[in-house]
Symmetry: C2
Subunit: 288 residues, 2 copies
Protein backbone atom coordinates (compact mmCIF):
# COMPACT_ATOMS: atom_id res chain seq x y z
CA UNK A 1 0.00 0.00 0.00
CA UNK A 2 1.33 3.44 -0.95
CA UNK A 3 2.08 5.62 2.06
CA UNK A 4 0.09 8.85 2.40
CA UNK A 5 2.00 12.14 2.88
CA UNK A 6 -1.13 13.56 4.40
CA UNK A 7 -4.87 12.95 4.60
CA UNK A 8 -7.66 15.25 3.42
CA UNK A 9 -11.06 15.02 5.12
CA UNK A 10 -14.44 16.60 4.36
CA UNK A 11 -16.68 16.48 7.44
CA UNK A 12 -20.44 16.72 6.87
CA UNK A 13 -23.36 16.18 9.23
CA UNK A 14 -23.96 12.70 7.85
CA UNK A 15 -20.44 11.46 7.41
CA UNK A 16 -16.84 11.93 6.40
CA UNK A 17 -15.07 11.63 3.06
CA UNK A 18 -11.41 10.77 3.44
CA UNK A 19 -8.69 11.12 0.79
CA UNK A 20 -5.21 9.73 1.51
CA UNK A 21 -2.86 12.04 -0.47
CA UNK A 22 0.44 10.95 -1.99
CA UNK A 23 3.35 12.38 -3.98
CA UNK A 24 2.58 15.71 -5.62
CA UNK A 25 -0.68 15.92 -3.73
CA UNK A 26 -2.12 13.09 -5.82
CA UNK A 27 -5.33 11.49 -4.50
CA UNK A 28 -4.49 7.86 -3.60
CA UNK A 29 -7.98 6.76 -2.62
CA UNK A 30 -11.43 8.08 -1.63
CA UNK A 31 -13.17 6.54 1.36
CA UNK A 32 -16.67 7.40 2.57
CA UNK A 33 -17.11 6.97 6.32
CA UNK A 34 -20.74 7.20 7.48
CA UNK A 35 -21.17 8.61 10.99
CA UNK A 36 -23.83 6.77 12.95
CA UNK A 37 -23.81 8.93 16.07
CA UNK A 38 -22.49 12.51 15.91
CA UNK A 39 -18.77 12.68 16.74
CA UNK A 40 -18.22 15.10 19.62
CA UNK A 41 -14.43 15.39 19.96
CA UNK A 42 -11.09 14.83 18.25
CA UNK A 43 -10.61 11.41 19.82
CA UNK A 44 -13.93 10.29 18.38
CA UNK A 45 -12.93 11.68 15.00
CA UNK A 46 -9.60 9.82 15.06
CA UNK A 47 -11.37 6.61 16.09
CA UNK A 48 -13.76 7.02 13.15
CA UNK A 49 -11.06 7.42 10.48
CA UNK A 50 -8.23 5.24 11.83
CA UNK A 51 -9.60 1.88 10.66
CA UNK A 52 -9.80 3.35 7.13
CA UNK A 53 -6.49 5.23 6.96
CA UNK A 54 -4.25 2.92 8.99
CA UNK A 55 -2.93 1.07 5.91
CA UNK A 56 -1.71 4.42 4.50
CA UNK A 57 0.15 5.58 7.63
CA UNK A 58 3.92 5.66 8.25
CA UNK A 59 4.84 7.81 11.21
CA UNK A 60 2.75 10.76 12.35
CA UNK A 61 0.58 11.87 9.42
CA UNK A 62 -1.05 15.30 8.97
CA UNK A 63 -4.85 15.29 8.58
CA UNK A 64 -6.43 18.45 7.12
CA UNK A 65 -10.16 18.70 7.88
CA UNK A 66 -12.83 21.04 6.53
CA UNK A 67 -16.36 21.32 7.94
CA UNK A 68 -15.58 20.14 11.49
CA UNK A 69 -18.30 20.97 14.07
CA UNK A 70 -17.99 24.43 15.63
CA UNK A 71 -17.71 22.89 19.10
CA UNK A 72 -14.26 21.49 18.19
CA UNK A 73 -12.91 25.04 18.23
CA UNK A 74 -11.58 25.72 14.73
CA UNK A 75 -13.20 29.15 15.01
CA UNK A 76 -14.30 31.56 12.32
CA UNK A 77 -12.60 33.87 9.82
CA UNK A 78 -14.78 36.79 8.69
CA UNK A 79 -15.33 37.80 5.07
CA UNK A 80 -13.73 39.11 2.98
CA UNK A 81 -11.12 36.35 3.03
CA UNK A 82 -9.17 34.12 0.67
CA UNK A 83 -10.24 30.52 1.24
CA UNK A 84 -6.76 29.26 0.25
CA UNK A 85 -5.25 31.36 3.04
CA UNK A 86 -7.42 30.07 5.90
CA UNK A 87 -4.98 29.00 8.63
CA UNK A 88 -5.80 25.60 10.11
CA UNK A 89 -6.15 25.31 13.87
CA UNK A 90 -4.51 22.38 15.71
CA UNK A 91 -6.75 20.95 18.43
CA UNK A 92 -5.46 19.03 21.44
CA UNK A 93 -6.15 15.34 21.95
CA UNK A 94 -6.59 12.70 19.32
CA UNK A 95 -4.24 9.90 18.37
CA UNK A 96 -0.41 9.90 18.35
CA UNK A 97 -0.34 8.61 14.76
CA UNK A 98 -2.34 11.58 13.43
CA UNK A 99 -1.65 15.32 13.49
CA UNK A 100 -5.03 17.05 13.12
CA UNK A 101 -5.46 20.45 11.44
CA UNK A 102 -8.97 21.93 11.41
CA UNK A 103 -9.84 24.59 8.83
CA UNK A 104 -11.83 27.43 10.39
CA UNK A 105 -15.32 28.23 9.13
CA UNK A 106 -15.98 31.50 7.29
CA UNK A 107 -18.38 33.89 8.99
CA UNK A 108 -20.27 37.03 8.05
CA UNK A 109 -21.77 39.64 10.35
CA UNK A 110 -24.50 41.26 8.26
CA UNK A 111 -26.50 39.25 7.49
CA UNK A 112 -25.24 36.68 9.99
CA UNK A 113 -24.08 33.62 8.09
CA UNK A 114 -21.61 30.73 8.18
CA UNK A 115 -19.75 28.77 5.49
CA UNK A 116 -18.63 25.48 6.96
CA UNK A 117 -17.15 22.99 4.52
CA UNK A 118 -17.95 24.93 1.36
CA UNK A 119 -14.75 26.96 1.81
CA UNK A 120 -12.73 23.87 0.75
CA UNK A 121 -14.92 23.43 -2.33
CA UNK A 122 -14.47 27.10 -3.21
CA UNK A 123 -10.70 26.87 -2.68
CA UNK A 124 -10.68 23.90 -5.05
CA UNK A 125 -12.68 25.76 -7.71
CA UNK A 126 -10.37 28.77 -7.41
CA UNK A 127 -7.32 26.48 -7.67
CA UNK A 128 -8.66 25.53 -11.11
CA UNK A 129 -10.01 28.99 -11.99
CA UNK A 130 -7.85 31.52 -10.09
CA UNK A 131 -9.17 34.44 -12.15
CA UNK A 132 -12.84 33.65 -11.55
CA UNK A 133 -14.91 36.74 -10.78
CA UNK A 134 -18.59 36.15 -10.20
CA UNK A 135 -21.04 34.10 -8.18
CA UNK A 136 -20.70 30.50 -7.05
CA UNK A 137 -24.07 28.91 -6.29
CA UNK A 138 -23.54 25.74 -4.23
CA UNK A 139 -26.82 23.76 -3.95
CA UNK A 140 -27.29 21.66 -0.84
CA UNK A 141 -29.27 21.37 2.41
CA UNK A 142 -28.32 25.06 2.81
CA UNK A 143 -27.68 26.46 -0.65
CA UNK A 144 -24.84 28.99 -0.62
CA UNK A 145 -24.49 31.99 -2.95
CA UNK A 146 -20.93 33.32 -2.78
CA UNK A 147 -19.59 36.46 -4.41
CA UNK A 148 -16.00 35.74 -5.47
CA UNK A 149 -13.54 38.38 -6.63
CA UNK A 150 -9.71 38.49 -6.63
CA UNK A 151 -9.53 34.99 -5.07
CA UNK A 152 -11.59 36.27 -2.14
CA UNK A 153 -14.99 35.36 -0.78
CA UNK A 154 -16.40 38.90 -0.70
CA UNK A 155 -19.83 38.08 0.73
CA UNK A 156 -22.21 35.16 0.79
CA UNK A 157 -25.74 34.17 1.72
CA UNK A 158 -27.25 30.85 2.72
CA UNK A 159 -30.79 29.75 1.89
CA UNK A 160 -32.39 26.78 3.66
CA UNK A 161 -33.44 24.95 0.49
CA UNK A 162 -32.34 21.34 0.08
CA UNK A 163 -33.44 20.68 3.63
CA UNK A 164 -36.89 22.16 2.97
CA UNK A 165 -37.28 20.20 -0.26
CA UNK A 166 -36.20 16.96 1.42
CA UNK A 167 -38.70 17.48 4.25
CA UNK A 168 -41.56 18.13 1.83
CA UNK A 169 -41.20 15.81 -1.14
CA UNK A 170 -39.68 12.62 -2.45
CA UNK A 171 -36.11 13.20 -3.71
CA UNK A 172 -35.75 14.98 -7.03
CA UNK A 173 -34.39 12.54 -9.62
CA UNK A 174 -32.39 13.32 -12.74
CA UNK A 175 -35.41 12.71 -14.98
CA UNK A 176 -37.46 15.43 -13.23
CA UNK A 177 -40.26 17.06 -15.24
CA UNK A 178 -38.56 20.19 -16.53
CA UNK A 179 -41.69 22.12 -17.47
CA UNK A 180 -43.35 21.38 -14.12
CA UNK A 181 -40.23 22.64 -12.38
CA UNK A 182 -39.97 25.81 -14.46
CA UNK A 183 -43.66 26.65 -14.11
CA UNK A 184 -43.37 26.28 -10.35
CA UNK A 185 -40.21 28.43 -10.27
CA UNK A 186 -41.88 31.20 -12.29
CA UNK A 187 -45.01 31.16 -10.15
CA UNK A 188 -43.05 31.22 -6.89
CA UNK A 189 -40.72 34.01 -8.10
CA UNK A 190 -43.75 36.17 -8.89
CA UNK A 191 -45.72 35.19 -5.78
CA UNK A 192 -43.29 34.14 -3.05
CA UNK A 193 -45.94 34.75 -0.35
CA UNK A 194 -48.01 31.93 -1.81
CA UNK A 195 -45.31 29.33 -1.19
CA UNK A 196 -46.96 27.42 1.66
CA UNK A 197 -50.35 27.27 -0.07
CA UNK A 198 -48.76 26.24 -3.39
CA UNK A 199 -47.08 23.34 -1.60
CA UNK A 200 -50.47 22.27 -0.19
CA UNK A 201 -52.09 22.61 -3.62
CA UNK A 202 -49.41 20.46 -5.27
CA UNK A 203 -49.97 17.72 -2.71
CA UNK A 204 -53.76 17.90 -2.98
CA UNK A 205 -53.58 17.69 -6.77
CA UNK A 206 -51.54 14.51 -6.37
CA UNK A 207 -54.36 12.97 -4.26
CA UNK A 208 -57.37 14.31 -6.16
CA UNK A 209 -56.01 13.64 -9.62
CA UNK A 210 -53.23 11.06 -9.30
CA UNK A 211 -53.11 10.17 -13.00
CA UNK A 212 -53.12 13.77 -14.20
CA UNK A 213 -50.71 15.20 -11.68
CA UNK A 214 -47.09 14.84 -12.73
CA UNK A 215 -43.94 15.64 -10.95
CA UNK A 216 -44.81 16.34 -7.32
CA UNK A 217 -41.08 16.42 -6.54
CA UNK A 218 -40.40 18.81 -9.44
CA UNK A 219 -43.30 21.05 -8.45
CA UNK A 220 -42.23 21.28 -4.84
CA UNK A 221 -38.55 21.78 -5.68
CA UNK A 222 -39.49 24.44 -8.23
CA UNK A 223 -41.68 26.27 -5.71
CA UNK A 224 -38.95 26.39 -3.07
CA UNK A 225 -36.22 27.32 -5.59
CA UNK A 226 -38.45 30.02 -7.07
CA UNK A 227 -38.87 31.70 -3.68
CA UNK A 228 -35.10 31.48 -3.27
CA UNK A 229 -34.37 33.03 -6.68
CA UNK A 230 -36.70 35.92 -5.78
CA UNK A 231 -34.73 36.45 -2.57
CA UNK A 232 -31.30 35.90 -4.16
CA UNK A 233 -31.81 38.28 -7.12
CA UNK A 234 -28.87 40.46 -6.09
CA UNK A 235 -26.66 37.39 -6.40
CA UNK A 236 -27.62 36.37 -9.93
CA UNK A 237 -29.15 39.28 -11.82
CA UNK A 238 -26.53 40.56 -14.25
CA UNK A 239 -23.87 38.35 -12.65
CA UNK A 240 -21.80 35.49 -14.00
CA UNK A 241 -23.07 32.47 -12.07
CA UNK A 242 -21.52 29.01 -11.79
CA UNK A 243 -23.71 26.33 -10.21
CA UNK A 244 -21.17 24.19 -8.41
CA UNK A 245 -22.68 20.75 -7.95
CA UNK A 246 -23.74 17.46 -9.47
CA UNK A 247 -27.04 15.65 -9.43
CA UNK A 248 -30.66 16.58 -9.89
CA UNK A 249 -30.81 19.54 -7.51
CA UNK A 250 -27.94 21.29 -9.30
CA UNK A 251 -29.55 20.59 -12.67
CA UNK A 252 -32.75 22.14 -11.29
CA UNK A 253 -30.89 25.32 -10.30
CA UNK A 254 -29.21 25.46 -13.71
CA UNK A 255 -32.55 25.11 -15.51
CA UNK A 256 -34.26 27.67 -13.25
CA UNK A 257 -31.48 30.24 -13.60
CA UNK A 258 -31.28 29.78 -17.38
CA UNK A 259 -35.04 30.20 -17.62
CA UNK A 260 -34.81 33.39 -15.54
CA UNK A 261 -32.31 34.79 -18.02
CA UNK A 262 -29.19 34.52 -15.87
CA UNK A 263 -25.69 34.02 -17.29
CA UNK A 264 -25.07 30.60 -15.81
CA UNK A 265 -23.14 27.41 -16.28
CA UNK A 266 -22.68 24.29 -14.18
CA UNK A 267 -19.40 22.82 -12.92
CA UNK A 268 -18.85 19.44 -11.31
CA UNK A 269 -17.52 19.27 -7.75
CA UNK A 270 -15.68 16.06 -8.58
CA UNK A 271 -12.19 16.22 -7.09
CA UNK A 272 -12.53 19.84 -5.95
CA UNK A 273 -12.47 19.29 -2.18
CA UNK A 274 -9.09 17.47 -2.01
CA UNK A 275 -7.79 20.09 -4.47
CA UNK A 276 -9.06 22.86 -2.18
CA UNK A 277 -7.62 21.24 0.94
CA UNK A 278 -4.31 20.95 -0.93
CA UNK A 279 -4.41 24.66 -1.74
CA UNK A 280 -5.22 25.52 1.87
CA UNK A 281 -2.45 23.21 3.12
CA UNK A 282 0.02 24.87 0.76
CA UNK A 283 -1.25 28.29 1.83
CA UNK A 284 -1.99 29.58 -1.65
CA UNK A 285 -4.02 28.66 -4.74
CA UNK A 286 -2.27 26.32 -7.16
CA UNK A 287 -1.00 28.00 -10.29
CA UNK A 288 -2.87 27.25 -13.51
Amino acid sequence: MTQAHWIAVDWRADGLTVWPMGDGDAVLDQIDVPLGAPVADISGFCAAILPHVEPFLSGKTPVVVSGAPVALGAGFVPVPCKPAELSPVDPTGGDPRLSIHLIPAVSQGQPADILQGSEALIAGYLAEHPKFDGILCIPGPDTKWCHISAEEIVSFQSFVIGELIASLAPPLTNDFDRSTLLNAVQDAMSNPHRMASRLATLRAEQVLNPTGATGLAAGIAGTVIGVELAGARAYWLGQMVVVLGDGALSEAYLAALQDAGAMVERASVDGLIPKGLTAIRNGKPEAD
Copy 2:
Protein backbone atom coordinates in the same frame (compact mmCIF):
# COMPACT_ATOMS: atom_id res chain seq x y z
CA MET B 1 -68.44 -0.73 32.48
CA THR B 2 -71.07 1.44 30.79
CA GLN B 3 -72.01 0.20 27.33
CA ALA B 4 -71.32 2.51 24.39
CA HIS B 5 -74.16 3.35 21.98
CA TRP B 6 -71.54 4.17 19.40
CA ILE B 7 -67.87 5.02 19.09
CA ALA B 8 -66.34 8.22 17.69
CA VAL B 9 -62.85 8.07 16.15
CA ASP B 10 -60.47 10.77 14.91
CA TRP B 11 -57.85 9.24 12.59
CA ARG B 12 -54.60 11.18 12.14
CA ALA B 13 -51.30 10.19 10.52
CA ASP B 14 -49.73 9.45 13.88
CA GLY B 15 -52.59 7.77 15.70
CA LEU B 16 -56.25 7.46 16.61
CA THR B 17 -58.32 9.11 19.31
CA VAL B 18 -61.30 7.01 20.32
CA TRP B 19 -64.35 8.17 22.27
CA PRO B 20 -66.94 5.58 23.43
CA MET B 21 -70.25 7.50 23.41
CA GLY B 22 -73.15 6.82 25.80
CA ASP B 23 -76.67 8.05 26.53
CA GLY B 24 -77.46 11.42 25.01
CA ASP B 25 -74.21 11.32 23.07
CA ALA B 26 -72.19 11.80 26.26
CA VAL B 27 -68.48 11.07 26.03
CA LEU B 28 -67.77 8.04 28.25
CA ASP B 29 -64.01 7.96 27.81
CA GLN B 30 -61.17 9.24 25.62
CA ILE B 31 -58.49 6.77 24.50
CA ASP B 32 -55.39 7.65 22.49
CA VAL B 33 -54.18 4.80 20.27
CA PRO B 34 -50.74 5.42 18.72
CA LEU B 35 -50.26 3.80 15.32
CA GLY B 36 -46.81 2.30 14.92
CA ALA B 37 -47.09 1.22 11.30
CA PRO B 38 -49.64 2.87 8.99
CA VAL B 39 -52.97 1.00 8.97
CA ALA B 40 -53.85 0.04 5.40
CA ASP B 41 -57.36 -1.43 5.62
CA ILE B 42 -60.52 -1.71 7.71
CA SER B 43 -59.43 -5.00 9.29
CA GLY B 44 -56.24 -3.36 10.49
CA PHE B 45 -58.23 -0.43 11.84
CA CYS B 46 -60.61 -2.75 13.75
CA ALA B 47 -57.65 -4.71 15.14
CA ALA B 48 -56.12 -1.43 16.35
CA ILE B 49 -59.18 -0.21 18.25
CA LEU B 50 -60.78 -3.49 19.46
CA PRO B 51 -58.49 -4.02 22.49
CA HIS B 52 -59.45 -0.53 23.67
CA VAL B 53 -63.19 -0.53 22.95
CA GLU B 54 -64.08 -4.17 23.71
CA PRO B 55 -65.14 -3.42 27.31
CA PHE B 56 -67.69 -0.91 25.98
CA LEU B 57 -69.29 -3.24 23.38
CA SER B 58 -72.66 -5.01 23.57
CA GLY B 59 -73.78 -6.30 20.20
CA LYS B 60 -72.74 -4.71 16.92
CA THR B 61 -71.66 -1.14 17.66
CA PRO B 62 -71.49 1.75 15.16
CA VAL B 63 -68.07 3.40 14.76
CA VAL B 64 -68.01 6.85 13.11
CA VAL B 65 -64.56 7.80 11.79
CA SER B 66 -63.20 11.09 10.49
CA GLY B 67 -59.83 11.50 8.78
CA ALA B 68 -59.50 7.94 7.44
CA PRO B 69 -56.88 7.51 4.68
CA VAL B 70 -58.15 8.21 1.16
CA ALA B 71 -57.25 4.67 0.08
CA LEU B 72 -60.05 3.27 2.28
CA GLY B 73 -62.56 4.76 -0.12
CA ALA B 74 -64.64 7.25 1.88
CA GLY B 75 -64.35 9.58 -1.10
CA PHE B 76 -64.71 13.35 -1.31
CA VAL B 77 -67.54 15.87 -1.08
CA PRO B 78 -66.78 19.16 -2.87
CA VAL B 79 -67.27 22.61 -1.34
CA PRO B 80 -69.57 24.32 -0.65
CA CYS B 81 -70.95 21.76 1.79
CA LYS B 82 -72.32 21.53 5.32
CA PRO B 83 -69.92 19.45 7.40
CA ALA B 84 -72.80 18.20 9.58
CA GLU B 85 -74.48 16.77 6.48
CA LEU B 86 -71.55 14.73 5.18
CA SER B 87 -72.92 11.22 4.61
CA PRO B 88 -70.68 8.49 6.00
CA VAL B 89 -69.61 5.67 3.68
CA ASP B 90 -69.73 2.06 4.92
CA PRO B 91 -66.70 0.06 3.79
CA THR B 92 -66.67 -3.72 3.49
CA GLY B 93 -64.57 -5.94 5.73
CA GLY B 94 -63.69 -5.35 9.33
CA ASP B 95 -64.99 -7.11 12.42
CA PRO B 96 -68.51 -8.51 13.11
CA ARG B 97 -68.73 -6.59 16.41
CA LEU B 98 -68.19 -3.20 14.74
CA SER B 99 -70.16 -1.36 12.08
CA ILE B 100 -67.76 1.12 10.45
CA HIS B 101 -68.88 4.45 8.97
CA LEU B 102 -66.21 6.60 7.30
CA ILE B 103 -66.83 10.32 6.89
CA PRO B 104 -65.77 11.51 3.43
CA ALA B 105 -63.09 14.17 3.07
CA VAL B 106 -63.98 17.63 1.75
CA SER B 107 -62.37 18.62 -1.54
CA GLN B 108 -61.95 21.79 -3.57
CA GLY B 109 -61.16 22.10 -7.26
CA GLN B 110 -59.60 25.56 -7.56
CA PRO B 111 -57.16 25.75 -5.90
CA ALA B 112 -56.96 21.97 -5.43
CA ASP B 113 -57.21 21.22 -1.73
CA ILE B 114 -58.40 18.61 0.77
CA LEU B 115 -59.86 18.80 4.29
CA GLN B 116 -59.42 15.42 5.94
CA GLY B 117 -60.30 15.27 9.63
CA SER B 118 -60.80 19.00 10.12
CA GLU B 119 -64.39 18.64 8.89
CA ALA B 120 -65.31 16.93 12.20
CA LEU B 121 -63.67 19.74 14.16
CA ILE B 122 -65.57 22.33 12.11
CA ALA B 123 -68.85 20.43 12.57
CA GLY B 124 -68.17 20.49 16.32
CA TYR B 125 -67.48 24.21 16.34
CA LEU B 126 -70.65 24.87 14.32
CA ALA B 127 -72.64 22.66 16.70
CA GLU B 128 -71.67 25.14 19.42
CA HIS B 129 -71.84 28.25 17.22
CA PRO B 130 -74.42 27.50 14.50
CA LYS B 131 -74.65 31.16 13.45
CA PHE B 132 -70.88 31.62 13.01
CA ASP B 133 -70.00 33.55 9.88
CA GLY B 134 -66.30 34.15 9.30
CA ILE B 135 -62.97 32.37 9.07
CA LEU B 136 -61.77 29.37 11.04
CA CYS B 137 -57.98 29.15 11.14
CA ILE B 138 -56.94 25.63 12.23
CA PRO B 139 -53.17 25.52 12.93
CA GLY B 140 -51.43 22.19 12.35
CA PRO B 141 -48.95 20.36 10.13
CA ASP B 142 -51.10 21.80 7.30
CA THR B 143 -52.80 24.93 8.64
CA LYS B 144 -56.32 25.30 7.23
CA TRP B 145 -58.13 28.58 6.61
CA CYS B 146 -61.86 27.91 6.14
CA HIS B 147 -64.51 30.40 5.12
CA ILE B 148 -67.71 29.47 6.96
CA SER B 149 -71.14 30.91 6.18
CA ALA B 150 -74.67 29.59 6.77
CA GLU B 151 -73.29 26.40 8.36
CA GLU B 152 -71.37 25.68 5.15
CA ILE B 153 -67.69 25.41 4.34
CA VAL B 154 -67.69 27.89 1.45
CA SER B 155 -64.01 27.62 0.53
CA PHE B 156 -60.74 26.78 2.25
CA GLN B 157 -57.00 26.84 1.74
CA SER B 158 -54.20 24.77 3.28
CA PHE B 159 -50.71 26.06 4.01
CA VAL B 160 -47.85 23.67 4.77
CA ILE B 161 -46.76 25.34 8.01
CA GLY B 162 -46.52 23.20 11.14
CA GLU B 163 -44.67 20.61 9.12
CA LEU B 164 -42.16 23.21 7.86
CA ILE B 165 -41.64 24.62 11.35
CA ALA B 166 -41.15 21.14 12.82
CA SER B 167 -38.57 20.27 10.17
CA LEU B 168 -36.60 23.48 10.77
CA ALA B 169 -36.59 24.22 14.48
CA PRO B 170 -37.05 22.81 17.95
CA PRO B 171 -40.73 22.76 18.96
CA LEU B 172 -42.31 26.09 19.88
CA THR B 173 -43.12 26.10 23.61
CA ASN B 174 -45.76 28.12 25.42
CA ASP B 175 -43.17 30.54 26.80
CA PHE B 176 -41.98 31.54 23.30
CA ASP B 177 -40.37 34.97 22.94
CA ARG B 178 -43.30 37.08 21.75
CA SER B 179 -41.31 40.03 20.42
CA THR B 180 -38.94 37.74 18.48
CA LEU B 181 -41.95 36.02 16.96
CA LEU B 182 -43.71 39.25 16.01
CA ASN B 183 -40.57 40.84 14.54
CA ALA B 184 -40.07 37.75 12.39
CA VAL B 185 -43.72 37.76 11.31
CA GLN B 186 -43.57 41.42 10.29
CA ASP B 187 -40.32 40.97 8.40
CA ALA B 188 -41.59 37.89 6.55
CA MET B 189 -44.94 39.50 5.68
CA SER B 190 -43.09 42.43 4.10
CA ASN B 191 -40.39 40.31 2.44
CA PRO B 192 -41.76 36.81 1.86
CA HIS B 193 -39.10 36.15 -0.82
CA ARG B 194 -36.42 36.38 1.85
CA MET B 195 -37.82 33.46 3.83
CA ALA B 196 -35.12 30.87 3.09
CA SER B 197 -32.28 33.31 3.75
CA ARG B 198 -33.91 34.61 6.96
CA LEU B 199 -34.07 31.01 8.20
CA ALA B 200 -30.34 30.61 7.48
CA THR B 201 -29.59 33.92 9.20
CA LEU B 202 -31.53 32.94 12.33
CA ARG B 203 -29.56 29.71 12.56
CA ALA B 204 -26.22 31.40 11.96
CA GLU B 205 -26.96 34.02 14.64
CA GLN B 206 -27.59 31.16 17.06
CA VAL B 207 -24.10 29.77 16.33
CA LEU B 208 -22.15 33.04 16.06
CA ASN B 209 -23.76 34.71 19.07
CA PRO B 210 -25.27 31.96 21.23
CA THR B 211 -25.69 34.10 24.35
CA GLY B 212 -27.24 37.05 22.50
CA ALA B 213 -29.51 35.12 20.20
CA THR B 214 -32.89 34.40 21.75
CA GLY B 215 -35.75 32.35 20.53
CA LEU B 216 -34.58 30.41 17.49
CA ALA B 217 -37.88 28.50 17.57
CA ALA B 218 -39.89 31.75 17.82
CA GLY B 219 -37.88 33.36 15.01
CA ILE B 220 -38.32 30.42 12.67
CA ALA B 221 -42.02 29.98 13.49
CA GLY B 222 -42.56 33.72 13.03
CA THR B 223 -40.80 33.70 9.65
CA VAL B 224 -42.88 30.82 8.32
CA ILE B 225 -46.16 32.19 9.76
CA GLY B 226 -45.37 35.64 8.35
CA VAL B 227 -45.01 34.26 4.83
CA GLU B 228 -48.30 32.44 5.36
CA LEU B 229 -50.13 35.56 6.57
CA ALA B 230 -48.90 37.39 3.47
CA GLY B 231 -50.35 34.61 1.31
CA ALA B 232 -53.56 34.21 3.34
CA ARG B 233 -54.47 37.92 3.45
CA ALA B 234 -57.78 37.33 1.68
CA TYR B 235 -58.72 35.00 4.51
CA TRP B 236 -58.10 37.37 7.42
CA LEU B 237 -58.07 40.97 6.25
CA GLY B 238 -61.37 42.53 7.33
CA GLN B 239 -62.72 39.12 8.37
CA MET B 240 -63.81 37.73 11.73
CA VAL B 241 -61.19 35.04 12.45
CA VAL B 242 -61.30 32.31 15.09
CA VAL B 243 -58.04 30.43 15.65
CA LEU B 244 -59.26 26.96 16.49
CA GLY B 245 -56.55 25.22 18.48
CA ASP B 246 -54.64 24.87 21.72
CA GLY B 247 -50.94 25.02 22.46
CA ALA B 248 -48.06 27.24 21.46
CA LEU B 249 -48.59 27.20 17.68
CA SER B 250 -52.17 28.46 18.06
CA GLU B 251 -51.01 31.16 20.49
CA ALA B 252 -48.42 32.19 17.90
CA TYR B 253 -51.12 32.56 15.23
CA LEU B 254 -53.29 34.55 17.65
CA ALA B 255 -50.42 36.91 18.50
CA ALA B 256 -49.41 37.32 14.85
CA LEU B 257 -52.95 38.03 13.67
CA GLN B 258 -53.63 40.47 16.51
CA ASP B 259 -50.38 42.25 15.70
CA ALA B 260 -51.39 42.46 12.03
CA GLY B 261 -54.62 44.16 13.07
CA ALA B 262 -57.01 41.28 12.38
CA MET B 263 -60.27 40.75 14.29
CA VAL B 264 -59.33 37.49 15.92
CA GLU B 265 -60.01 35.31 18.92
CA ARG B 266 -58.91 31.82 19.90
CA ALA B 267 -61.16 28.86 20.75
CA SER B 268 -60.14 25.55 22.28
CA VAL B 269 -60.68 22.35 20.32
CA ASP B 270 -61.33 20.46 23.54
CA GLY B 271 -64.34 18.17 23.05
CA LEU B 272 -65.14 19.51 19.58
CA ILE B 273 -64.36 16.40 17.53
CA PRO B 274 -66.76 14.02 19.35
CA LYS B 275 -69.33 16.84 19.25
CA GLY B 276 -68.78 17.18 15.49
CA LEU B 277 -68.98 13.45 14.90
CA THR B 278 -72.23 13.45 16.90
CA ALA B 279 -73.61 16.20 14.69
CA ILE B 280 -72.58 14.31 11.55
CA ARG B 281 -74.06 11.06 12.91
CA ASN B 282 -77.34 12.85 13.64
CA GLY B 283 -77.25 14.43 10.21
CA LYS B 284 -77.65 18.00 11.37
CA PRO B 285 -75.96 20.50 13.69
CA GLU B 286 -77.06 20.29 17.30
CA ALA B 287 -79.46 23.03 18.37
CA ASP B 288 -78.08 25.70 20.69
